[in-house]
């Protein structure tokens, strides 16, 4: 299976569980599992080759001009992580099926989980750092969805927001760092970057790039001081915590450090930043974990601590330490996931995860006790379990690491960290399972069914197997992964339980014994801690967010306060300044065209237009009158288009005017009759002067343009010459719309559709607001008409309707060769329907509407898209049109162009958008108390007297 397919499989498969949930929860889980299994099989098929030392590549140019290629690579490191992601993913899917409640939307859960899985796979398989960043951001987004899965819980929402903010900010830093790195190396392909160690480390940009990348990595892997988001993210369902926050996502940072280890590591900067951060994280995490009473919080802090440990190992910069880091990544994933799943079982069965309310569960839940204890022992570093091996090797590395000349600094602190680790691991066992049996568990604890314990049991089996037979089980994988991390030659290492009496063994013993002692002194220590200041990270974070929100709000309210005249002022002044600057610095050619005489007809139109406009300015307080005057201006403009031989524009303008005026009239129904007088006279004078200056400037510009020749040949000659031969139509305007600039039109109808939907949504929130209540209380200012839907009007509109529809079809069909087209036809049909609304009332018409107008917009855009895509099948670019001539017996030979399909999309979209706007007004009317009448007209002589409306 090609790597790109493996990486995309979870994305493609993400819809399956969401659909299959209709067939039941088990079917949904099966589909998610099948997708994961398929991807896992794909990886396993490549595994033998990778273990032989080969690297699998898949290359595809995506956006080559940006250096962004869909290049994938599978080496040892990718293999280890892919196996973790998919293997543990599969176990989590099984576990979640039994963990989630009946009320939880399981299809959604698996959908998010697969999206996340795909994003993670993408990170570990990417061979291109830009592609890697894309997947990196996708993990932030999908983990946001997963952490906030229980939307009803405020902790879930806050935790999700915090995780997204922290990792998202880190992602931004990472983008900067990666771009710098790509710049230094001269390529965005990892395989090239990994070869350019010397160039990169010699570059002056090395340190900035390193710091930016490390910020991204540390936020993702919850390293100090960004570690606070991980415990907050524990509001997620336990399977998510086990998957994201122990096995995979938090390891993405480690992965990236390991991936870039060959080029970035080995410098003092790397050592001091990474190793020290790791060390601090290890200690703070361990101490945090010890005192947490929530099981999941304990595990979250322990994860922080363990991640710090691995970070520190990578920071050491020696090849042996990198090997140990790889080994511990594998071990940590197994025992920590098992621990999280155990915590989930305890929560599920005992009804609480508060350690203070637990204890004595070993008799009630013997199987869980066994699984939990083995996993916790492994975390503590007890021999014969895998945690012991990697911890022992880690201590060995730490024992001879020198920090700023000190030989003791790291070994002592690392031993202390291990000691606290052992203490919290023992606490997990002692305070949950040991001790006397209690009588006040919220539920009656008992071992869960197979579905829940299978996954942690399998993981613990691995813990033991690796612990007992490390070289056999994990040896080859660790070797090949480490050689990928270290970039080839590997130091000698052996995965064995007994290395002889070494300093590490002593440190291990101190840690284990000290951990037990520390736990024995837990109660007084806890009291001491309670008297110290508490964890303040969340408060600081919330404070920072509040400041950011206040700043954003202040800025937005200052610039964007809803006063229309202010925006218009800013716009007018900007244009004026730019125009004055252009006029002052540029040069206009001399007038080369003679002025034409003014015949009486345009003069009359001009006088009407000016008169209407001036009257609007003077009388705009009367809204109805202003609307009528706007109508006059619109008609004159349409007639002007006719006069200048632009029939398409004239038709469009006329129909747009009609639709606008009708919709505005309907909207005016819900508005006050007049607009109030606002602002002082001085302001009016100022605004008038600015407006006149802008208007005069525009007029002057037009005059100059019209009296001089074009500086370059206009493009219209090309359009005129190619319209028939290229686009198959004589109507150049229409061919431009659907062919030459079809992509523009495509974008425009999408914008139109979005605008209509936004209007609809805005009205929805309007109706929910106090405005809606006011509408409902609204009393008409004059007594209502007894006959608002008169017979004459109803009959006339019914008679005109089929004619208008026919005209619409006619205009649509002729569009390609004569004035017309989808846009105008859509408006004409919309007017035909609008008339019915006006004649018989909104509610009467709405109750006869058989299809949603939203759908019309969607179908329109889909039709246009499909027409465009169809040209791909023929091997041409998007929206290439073709045409042909056909003869069907009784008809004349006629032309069919694919552009007609596109035009149909335009037609549907325009119709849907206009009607959706009308529908919005209808809802306002409905809120204002209008109810559907059973009759189309109020007074109908053909109805019996008893059925007349009273």
């Amino acid at each position: 299976m090609p790597l790109i397919l493996i990486a995309l499989l979870p994305f493609l498969g993400a819809v399956l569980p969401a659909l299959m949930i209709r067939a039941g929860r088990t079917a949904s889980a099966w589909s998610a599992g099948a997708v994961t299994l398929a991807a896992l099989t794909g990886i396993l098929a490549h595994a033998p080759a990778v273990l032989r030392g080969e690297i699998i590549f898949y290359q595809l140019d995506w956006v080559p001009i940006l250096g962004l290629n869909a290049n994938f690579m599978l080496d040892g490191l990718g293999l280890l992580f892919s196996l973790l992601i998919l293997g543990i993913g599969l176990l989590i899917i099984i576990y979640a099926r039994f963990y989630l409640d009946r009320d939880d939307p399981m299809g959604q859960f698996y959908c998010y989980l697969l999206l996340f899985q795909g994003a993670m796979l993408g990170i570990v398989l990417s061979d291109n750092i830009l592609l890697l960043i894309v997947f990196w951001e996708l993990t932030s987004l999908s983990s946001f969805l997963l952490i906030g899965y229980w939307k009803h819980l405020p902790e879930g929402r806050q935790g999700a927001r915090m995780a997204l903010t922290v990792t998202g900010m880190g992602g931004l830093a990472l983008i900067g760092g990666m771009l710098l790195l790509g710049d230094i190396a001269g390529s965005h392909d990892l395989s090239v970057i990994l070869q350019s160690r010397d160039v990169i480390q010699a570059s002056p940009l090395y340190v900035p790039a390193l710091i930016l990348i490390l910020i991204g990595v540390f936020t993702k892997s919850a390293q100090f001081p960004f570690h606070f988001w991980l415990p907050q993210a524990m509001a997620a369902p336990t399977p998510v915590s086990a998957y994201l926050h122990s096995a995979t996502m938090v390891k993405a940072g480690l992965f990236l450090m390991a991936r870039l280890w060959p080029v970035l590591s080995g410098t003092p900067e790397w050592f001091y930043i990474v190793a020290t951060t790791g060390l601090i994280t290890m200690l703070t995490g361990a101490i945090g974990a010890l005192f947490k009473n929530d099981l999941k919080a304990l595990l979250a802090y322990s994860t922080v601590s363990q991640l710090g440990l691995i970070t520190m190992l990578l920071g050491f910069g020696t090849k042996m330490a990198a090997v140990v880091a790889v080994f511990h990544i594998l071990n940590h994933a197994t025992f920590k996931a098992a621990l999280f799943l155990t915590a989930g079982i305890i929560d599920h069965e005992a009804g609480t995860r508060d350690i203070r309310r637990l204890g004595g569960l070993r008799h009630l839940m013997p199987l869980t006790f066994l699984i939990g204890t083995l996993a916790a022992f492994s975390m503590a570093g007890v021999p014969f379990l895998n945690g012991f091996l990697s911890k022992e090797m880690m201590l060995e590395e730490a024992a001879h690491t020198v920090w700023a000349g000190s030989h003791l600094f790291i070994p002592v602190l690392v031993t202390l960290g291990s000691l606290v680790s052992a203490a919290y691991s023992f606490r997990f066992i002692a305070h949950v399972f040991l001790g006397p049996r209690r009588s006040d568990y919220p539920h009656r604890p008992h071992d869960p069914g197979f579905g829940l314990w299978a996954a942690p049991a399998l993981l613990v089996a691995l813990v033991v197997l690796i612990g007992v037979l490390p070289a056999l089980i994990a040896g080859p994988l660790v070797a090949i992964t480490s050689s990928a991390v270290t970039g080839g030659d590997l130091p000698y290492f052996s995965l064995r339980i007994w290395h002889g009496v070494t300093p590490a063994l002593g440190m291990s013993l101190i840690a284990l014994v000290g951990g037990a002692v520390l736990l024995a002194a837990f109660v007084p220590l806890d009291r001491l801690r309670a008297s110290l200041p508490q964890d303040t990270a969340k408060a600081i974070f919330d404070g920072l967010i509040a400041v950011a929100v206040r700043l954003a709000r202040g800025l937005t309210a200052g610039l964007h306060n809803g006063v229309m005249s202010r925006y218009a002022l800013a716009f007018a002044l900007t244009v004026l300044t730019a125009a004055i600057f252009a006029w002052a610095t540029g040069a206009a050619g001399p007038a080369t065209r003679a002025l034409t005489p003014v015949p009486p007809l345009p003069l009359i139109g001009w006088v009407l237009l000016v008169a209407a406009t001036v009257t609007i300015v003077l009388t705009h307080h009367n809204r109805l009158l202003a609307l009528i005057l706007i109508g006059i201006a619109g008609l004159i403009v349409s007639v002007t288009f006719v006069y200048f031989s632009a029939p398409d524009l004239a038709l469009t303008q006329a129909t747009v005017e009609v639709v606008t005026i009708i919709l505005l009239l309907l909207a005016l129904n819900f508005l006050p009759r007049g607009s109030p007088r606002e602002g002082s006279t001085a302001r009016h004078v100022r605004d008038a002067l600015i407006a006149i200056a802008v208007g005069a400037g525009a007029a002057a510009l037009t005059f100059v343009v019209q009296t001089t020749d074009f500086a370059f040949d206009p493009i219209s000659a090309y359009h005129l010459a190619n319209s028939k031969t290229g686009g198959g139509g004589y109507n150049v305007v229409n061919v431009i719309l659907v062919d030459f600039r079809g992509f523009d039109t495509y974008g425009e109808i999408i914008v139109l559709g979005i605008a209509a939907l936004v209007i609809h949504a805005l009205a929805e929130s309007l109706l929910e607001s106090p405005v809606g209540a006011r509408l409902a209380r609204r009393a008409p200012d004059k007594g209502e008409s007894g006959d608002p839907h008169p017979l004459l009007m109803v009959v006339a509109t019914r008679v005109i309707m089929p004619i208008a529809l026919l005209v619409g079809v006619f205009i649509f069909l002729r569009g390609h060769n004569a004035p017309g087209g989808g846009f105008i036809a859509g408006l004409i049909v919309a007017i035909a329907l609008l008339m019915q609304y006006m004649a018989s009332g909104y509610d009467w018409a709405v109750s006869r509407q058989r299809f949603p107008y939203h759908g019309l917009i969607a179908i329109g855009i889909l039709t246009a898209t499909l027409t465009g895509v169809a040209s791909w099948i023929a091997g041409y670019p998007f929206l290439t049109s073709s045409y042909g001539y056909f003869t069907i017996a009784p008809l004349e030979t006629f032309e069919l162009a694919t552009a007609m399909g596109f035009d149909l999309g335009v037609f549907l979209c325009v119709l849907g958008a206009v009607m959706l706007a009308l529908d919005t007004i209808s809802r306002l009317a409905h809120r204002a108390g209008e109810r559907p009448s059973p009759y189309a007209m109020d007074v109908d002589p053909s109805r019996p007297q008893s059925a007349q409306r009273v």
Binding site: D787, L792, V799
Partner: protein, 118 residues
């Protein structure tokens, strides 16, 4: 086109234009909205009608063809003009006339427009 043909076309145009002028003048001159309603109906029916007939005759004389566009325009005018006039008069009734000022309808129903008013 012969002179007599041109005279016929011109006559129709002048008749149409004359009615248009009369209609517009009446719109200014007449005092009462109900009376003023009559003026533009002259312009839309006889005024535009004269121009349309002139156009048809011109087509027949000049090209020897029978033009149907004008008939369609006439049809639409006949359909829309009464609706407009009726709606204007209804608004006038509704907004300015009290029920008591109106003559009886001759049935047991009141004037439809004022049906809901007290």
């Amino acid at each position: 086109m012969a002179l007599w043909q041109e005279i016929i076309v011109a006559a129709f145009l002048i008749i149409g234009g004359g009615f248009g002028l009369v209609g517009s003048f009446g719109l200014i001159k007449l005092a009462d909205p109900m009376a003023r309603l009559h003026a533009p109906t002259k312009a839309t029916t006889l005024g535009v009608g004269g121009v349309l007939i002139g156009s048809m005759v011109y087509q027949a004389f000049a090209d020897g063809t029978f033009s149907v566009h004008e008939l369609l325009i006439t049809l639409f005018l006949f359909l829309t003009a009464p609706v407009t006039a009726m709606l204007i008069s209804k608004v006038h009734l509704h907004q300015t006339i009290r029920k008591s000022e109106l003559p009886p309808t001759g049935t047991d129903r009141p004037w439809a427009t004022l049906d809901k008013q007290d």
